[in-house]
Symmetry: C2
Amino acid sequence: MASALVYRASTTAPVNIAVVKYWGKRDVKLNLPTNSSLSVTLSQSDLRTLTTASCSTSFAQDSLTLNGEAADVSGARTQACFRALRARRAEMEAKDGSLPRLSTMALRIVSENNFPTAAGLASSAAGFAALVRAVADLYELSDSAERLSLIARQGSGSACRSLMGGYVAWRAGEADDGSDSVADVVAPASHWPEMRALILVVSAAKKGVSSTAGMQQTVATSGLFPLRVSTVVPANMTAMERAVQKRDFATFAEVTMAESNSFHACCLDTRPPIFYLNDVSRAAIRAVETINAAAGKTVAAYTFDAGPNCVVYYLERDGKAVLGAFSAVVGGVEGWKEGGYGGGVKLDEGIAGVLRNGVCRVIMTAVGEGPVTSDQHLVAEDGQLVRG
Amino acid sequence: MASALVYRASTTAPVNIAVVKYWGKRDVKLNLPTNSSLSVTLSQSDLRTLTTASCSTSFAQDSLTLNGEAADVSGARTQACFRALRARRAEMEAKDGSLPRLSTMALRIVSENNFPTAAGLASSAAGFAALVRAVADLYELSDSAERLSLIARQGSGSACRSLMGGYVAWRAGEADDGSDSVADVVAPASHWPEMRALILVVSAAKKGVSSTAGMQQTVATSGLFPLRVSTVVPANMTAMERAVQKRDFATFAEVTMAESNSFHACCLDTRPPIFYLNDVSRAAIRAVETINAAAGKTVAAYTFDAGPNCVVYYLERDGKAVLGAFSAVVGGVEGWKEGGYGGGVKLDEGIAGVLRNGVCRVIMTAVGEGPVTSDQHLVAEDGQLVRG
């Protein structure tokens, strides 16, 4: 007997690292943020999720496999994405009776990162972006990336920014139903392709408070947070968009650092306090300050998400000054790409020692593009899983 | 030839640790704060400054000796205190011609702490309080402690709170000349004598940013700080005063911890960010959270000034729960007073290890009285210095 047809589509999606931070929901169910945010999409050469979405009448039920392990699909966030995507497909099928009824078939989704989860890099953004993009491709939806961002947002807030390349804003929006809480491209990667990122992966003993739980504790208990939402972030969004449009790195960097500090300040002001920065993170901050002081201008910016890892943004032209300083302390670790970065400023021995002991891996990357269709499928034509 | 008469007065003055924090000046010259603050005066059995103020026609010039070393008296802050005190004495002398003209004589002031400066405990508060109290006694001024707090404030803001015992508020005031920026006793030590403090002295590699410099960086650059001044602190002052009056430890503790976190959050939100808390400080916070969770109520509160040392407030009746938990990790260090504190909650090994490695000394103390006249003089009758 011939086996049932298996429909497939595969895509890769990027990680993004915010420079104006998302922290706090105004609607937990719809994943609507308290404030707008802005991120840089990172190159998929270094960090990407590859996802294959498939469906077939032969599949018994929806399933999701992440990095070789079965994952739960019953969660509200995953279900919200499936439901929205199926609804879009069902509309098409209702209009055109010749289309296969994919919306009624079970989904088999397989996803793999090209970086270790243990690295503590936010993978949910890339993961949900890839999931939504792959299913949308499988369903041959005509929706724009902006329209799809409404769906990805329900999976993981920051995922909406990973549906596009370059410099991407997520507008908080005002509508109760979230219909205007959508991502858009402030500038494509090609507008400012010189942006580089050095990620210092810190060996953390333990994972801290999850961002999902943490941000709502902040909303509920921080006395300072309301001013961040009402005043600090709106000003930073305006300044950051202008900086990106004008390719003004100094402003980009100053706002990036101020935003990271403002976000972590609100975490500290939460009851009980949330700490993501540790002594290694602080040493990285001091290293960036040293580099900027030595350069006599702002050539590097640090930012931290919900963990101790430091992301250092800099421009290609300043690679020598920035990487030169770091090469003496983390030049030997996994991920370091040699490039003859001599002559950087010498870091204070206290700072250097903490970084040497605390940074276990680096990722050297750059601004990059949005999701890309892939012909590498993690589900075979017969529906079986393929190891990526 | 008979030597000139030496006039002397000696006093001890206490350290105070704020539970509503002073951070930020609205007038740098007059040392006027952006917000009110409230502190607990600590017992002088454990921490005190002893100061002798003396004057004589035989002294060539004003001098100040701190812990055996000559200190500069030309600084604006010390000069402001000297000037104000001399002016008060000169008024008395103008009214009563029989009084010796002490206001015209050079001052010789000698001061010693009974705790190592290396401990990193704010000693300027006790130091300036003792200086002002000793000179006021030398001059036989009739001014109340509140009136003297106006003078001490000009030496070091928090010094105004060390002129009184118990639970002391420093009112920010509104007048441009600072005439209403004064300390007062919210409740004497006798109102709530059960308050205890365990100070965990953290071995810090290096002194961080001074509070004098740091607080004005915060005022100038923090986006969140205005809300702390306008809203957060006023609410905390009201709640704290009520908690002290009602001896409501749970509220006292919750506000104390929230205040410490709010203050350090504003430090982190400063450009460049100021970090006083380190990994040891964070472990102390987690230890207090563990103790409170085990007790099923809030029996301990942490607070941090401009450094990594942790001050844990608790009530005598909860000594077993609080000290019992800490005894297993810092029970052996200098300053620990054995008291049979068995049966405390066992701290997580990660937290315990960090505290064991990072706490070099403890001070176990309690709420205490204000300055006390002493008959131990650090200046002899002939004007020579005496080693205390």
